[in-house]
């Protein structure tokens, strides 16, 4: 049977984070070979972060293999334990491998601008007319649906879901270590081997033996540091701001009938809110970068300027600024920008990032993830933040960072005797 088929000889991928990634199942090997999975090579794991951390050029292909490998190792440890149903093994591996399949170029930004949902795309790719679907159907007819359900977190066996999406899942364990490795930062390290050894399957979730609590604390702190040191780095966000504005501008031009020298074929599905999955699959970062380079020569000065900025890393500067708390300054700035002819809609951008490093359970809230449970020596379960002072201290506390982005070079280029120049600088706190 195809679902049980093993390769003649185990294949290994050399991986800098997990040393080797091991593949023995034919199904996994075939999935890796599909066009849809290979496309992940052309999408960076960390979007614009490579403009801050030059090492961060690794792709989602890399990360997807890593998540698969971690789940493979977890299941190796689960083998033979109570509560663990071996028949779920292939499903877990496939869901792990494919969980990011629906990501597009500069995912986060694209989703925000075009109101896309990468998880919906993942489902469509798994269930639609794709090479991925063809392989999964060979396993069994309803296997694609099962894989989609696991990724979608609606699968009935919550233990399976928790391997892929929880507050300590294979996804997070891979990306923290991988992103730390490629950026070179010293955060992001924790003792994964120890965590894997203390994970235990229960009916509806994976729990952690109490003796492993400190390793989990270390993991939570790593995550916290990675968010603020890497993922929310203000320079990467500056590049994201510009990216957002390029897409907004192109859409606006398209809607207002602007004649592009290069027709934005690949984008039309999204400009027109059709968002077809077959168009989505044709998008990747090489396509996007091609258009941005072409658009440098467009006659629209805003589109052209923003593309130059993105391609040549001429980023916006930033200051601390919370528009809600500083409404007056915000409105003044907006008007001053208009007065001096710098379109504030594109050149005065507030951006905020916030993170909830660990959350205890708040039933009914959207997007909640199950808390981490410790398995005490007496077999009771205790929620992590009740046992750990450190986790308790950051638990449930959302931290937000507000910044205001703008093109310093445009402001500097204003004549010194133009009064708005110094007014703008005064509000922004620039000397």
């Amino acid at each position: 049977m195809y679902k049980d088929e093993q390769l003649d000889e185990e294949k290994v991928f050399k991986d800098p984070v997990h040393r080797y990634i091991h593949v023995k199942d034919r199904v996994i090997w075939d999935l890796i070979g599909t066009a849809e999975f290979q496309r992940l090579r052309r999408i960076k794991q960390l979007g614009t972060s490579f403009l801050t951390f030059h090492g961060a050029e690794h792709s989602r292909f890399n990360h997807s293999l890593g998540v698969y490998e971690i789940v493979r190792r977890i299941l190796f440890n689960f083998d033979g334990r109570p509560h663990w149903n071996k028949d779920q093994r292939l499903l877990c591996l496939c869901a792990a491998l494919l969980h990011d399949l629906g990501h597009g170029p500069f995912s986060h930004t694209f989703e925000k601008v075009f109101k896309l949902d990468h998880e919906a795309f993942t489902r469509q790719i798994v269930l639609g007319d794709t090479e991925i679907n063809y392989i999964l159907r060979r396993v069994e007819e309803d296997f694609p649906q099962k894989v989609a359900d696991v990724i979608n977190k609606t699968y009935e066996d919550k233990l399976v879901v928790s391997l892929i999406s929880s507050q300590i899942d294979a996804d997070r364990m891979d990306y923290l270590q991988r992103d730390a490795y490629f950026t070179g930062v010293s955060y992001g390290h924790f003792d994964m081997e120890r965590i894997l050894r203390v994970m235990r399957p229960l009916e509806d979730q994976v729990v952690i033996k109490q003796s492993g609590m400190h390793a989990v604390e270390d993991y939570i702190m790593s995550r916290y540091q990675m968010y603020w040191q890497v993922y929310f780095h203000p320079v990467s966000r500056s590049a994201e701001v510009i990216l957002t504005k390029i897409l907004h501008r192109a859409k606006e031009l398209y809607e207002t009938g602007y004649q592009f020298s290069l027709k934005p074929t690949h984008f039309i599905s999204f400009f027109s809110e059709k968002n077809a999955v077959e168009d989505y699959l044709k998008l990747d970062e090489s396509i996007v970068l091609y258009y941005f380079q072409m658009w440098i020569d467009e006659t629209d000065p805003i589109l052209s300027d923003l593309c130059v900025r993105f391609i040549n890393r001429r980023l916006f500067k930033y200051v601390e600024f919370n528009p809600n708390a500083q409404m007056k300054e915000w409105m003044d700035l907006y008007q001053l920008f208009q007065k001096v002819g710098i379109n504030p809609q594109y050149y005065l951008v507030d951006d905020s990032s916030s993170d909830l490093p660990y959350d205890f359970y708040r039933p009914g809230e959207e997007g909640e993830r199950l808390p981490i449970h410790l398995l005490m020596p007496n077999q009771e379960l205790k929620e992590l933040s009740r046992q750990s002072d450190i986790v308790e201290s950051i638990s449930g506390k959302k931290r937000t960072d507000h910044k205001l982005y703008f093109p310093m070079d445009f402001i500097e280029a204003l004549p010194d005797d133009q009064p708005e120049k110094s007014e703008i600088k005064a509000i922004l706190g620039l000397s």
Copy 2:
């Protein structure tokens, strides 16, 4: 003076290989910010190797900063030593940073197909009407020429040249470590800190104190292993073979008047052997990957098929094969391929790689690099291979690997009763 200008505060780049890259000179900072240098972010350091080692997605931008940093550290150690002329410092740093500026997408393959020379392009970029040139000229009028001369190895001060191009230069020391880091292989490590400590400037070259000989041996062996384990990996070469054939096919189609659905604008300068630097600067890997994805829909079946293969990693299989030694088999295969309708010009490709791991001096040969000299306690110089058994053993010995590449899927798809199928398989040694 611009040439001596220092940044108010030292800037650092987090680098996974060298921990931090330090920039204090305004000139260096400005060069990094140019469009021509930023373009190196869109060119992978290892071309097609990411299809074998998925971590190898790092760019030449990464590597260029690394070479700069190594030279910076070498010069820090040279400071105050005899033979070292401090006035050469900025020149060395600029040449280190810019030495790869002329590389294009999938450089090696492009150069071979279109008979380009990346060093010539580097010169044109340094000397032409570019942002790089503008900055270098601000240092002094003939500074661009000096930088070009150093990179070109024609600069009069051979000590300066040897920092950038010798058998143990900053270029090699960076790429070995960096490529090992990103691929994750365990080769490529050596004690660079020790080598830097034992480097000494002499009149016309950098030499190594004899006490550091073993560290240099280790470096030479690392290089040897990296060549055979990574750089010449047969799977990466399979992707290169396909890349080569795509470019050949596109050129052939262009020359024969084929009507492309997507006009190959970016390639025309090269198809027509004009090779203008301004066209070259517009090429990067995102552009190339855009075209390859578009060409999948071209009506020419060969171009389309080869592009599918490259984009979706459907690579050619290979066997050991030396066409010179197996001329008869080669001709038979060629005819068999023709008979069954698989164009051998595109689908039967021999490829050979060879490496000279270390070379003693053979005057008059082209491309020779100076041998490594050890500085003995009595101040004599000895050529490395005379002191080291290991280096002697691989010195001057060229090793060559011949492989024959072909599309296994095409052969398998032939009907089993077609006699050529088994004849082909027999010659190729396939069961």
Copy 3:
């Protein structure tokens, strides 16, 4: 002048934690060569921890070089900055190198049992008739006193003191990394290079630029984890408990006129509370282990048994137990042990460890260390826990762990029908 004398060629020590330790000053080189400093090779950095973490066999010699190297790097960065007085350089280096000179074998335990003070011994070694003193006096007459004052934290220049003893000093930065390296745990890593780059000298302390706050958070968390995962590991504490009891027993026997087969010559100074520094310098872990091995053959059964346990790692088991909260059980146990003939004075031992991971300033309390101050962009100073949620969460909170240690084998060896056996097991919660 001796104080300025430089070695002809820099000497380096290969160090697994800092790569290389660099020595250029003749004074430092000479200090390393003294008998008193070499003695630190025979004293383990982590006392009994090697019985839990087999890698933890490194000596205080190792650590002392590491602290010196960190201070050397800090001062390299301070060079030329305001508030930094170059004349203090050699003093800082010497104090860093020598700060642990007064440690003896299994320091912590010895100090507790014999009421010693390793800092007092350090002072005596620095000021007394020693090779160390001879060298320091060659620098200048009052140099030994200065070094002693810095180590003693009474030196007038508080900036100098804070390099060696504060909440983020070179001592802590070395031991966290070094102990993590040798034990192999994944805690203990933080970005020291970054911390060194953001340290700034002020009048009376070293402060940290605000941009480095996250690196400091990471350091504080590393320390927290190392305390609970390594330094207070209950198995190492079991070995310490036994060690303590051996020393107590030997002293008691000495005081009561027991005739040792091997006269405890090396210990008499401490048994008799004379505590002479010349006797102290003759003690090291090889001496102690010699006696313990000899004492296995003593006729006193308690001394002999405890020495067997220590030498052959037959440690006490432990349970959670807080004698203050469980006074009744404690007294019951004590009497039960007496009844069955297991001397509770030596075989029923409560031990508690507590740690204050970070402390804000509480004036007037003994032993307080200055809090860490951040230097804000506006040059204001802010105390760390006011800026960092994580540090705030653990700041000023003492955490204590109570355990009760006992010889499980002795209890198991009691006859099953002896009622006290099950009573003891019931109180200890053993099934």
Copy 4:
């Protein structure tokens, strides 16, 4: 049955080299707990190397666990393969764990001076009246003999022997990596995980799949570098020379009836060539260091001086010198030393180290180890040096380094007008 008994829960040791060492077999757990095995904690893996590389303070206990762990991993991979007999598993693990049991303090030197053989002691410990023997006999009556035979390389199943003693055995793979880790040198790294994956059991040996050849080359080169950079470091050899001379002197004094202030009880068995195993087991490095410190106060000036040198690291200096080739100078020096009253028997010592980095098979020679065989795709075996240029280059070539050691301080202390002083310096090439 005891031999199959498994621990309730797997025990792990944190190991810096292999991350974790896993123990599930009760027999292994019990062996680790014996007095004879715990004794290995008091014997350094690298003898005097810690006086050159301060990190090299790790014990043979460390290494023995590491060798066990590597064999455990190899056998995990062998499970289910042809030629592999599962019943040999426990035997292999025990032999791996215990292979170094017979090492004493500063093993190499002790063996040379007292003509001991650590392998004979291992046998005596395994077969004699020891805790180790008691446990092994519980497995089965002739199990101790089997373990001794494997360690002794006389066991009939040569496949089992080759895991522990061959040119690529678990012993070497552990010590190279471990010694590199603790010294901090950058040599000693190779891809062990890859080597383990390509090892295959055959009837009478372990072979390596040809695809793993480069990993093996890397291992051979690591070994070569470790020998010359670490194991034969001339400074460590200086300490060994002094150690040798201390033991010689003490023996000579004993034989000539010298009255020691401290009777050398622990050494008498060896001075008198009785070499009893029960006396051997009482020796460890703490005992030896105790005596050396005591002997500093002996009245014999040579013994006292040599002990001061060893304890306080006042080592001999060295020059390149081959007594065979420089017989005349050697004799002159000898006489000059005598003339000026420096006893050449103790203070003028030639020492040579030689290494055979890899050896092809030379039947009949003593001490030969089987060469490494590659398993070719066609199932043929090829000897490694026939396939690898690099290995061929160093194969069968013995390299020898000769040095002459002497106390520079004694020579410097001679009056300048004493003609012998300058004659000695002239011969030694000292300026």
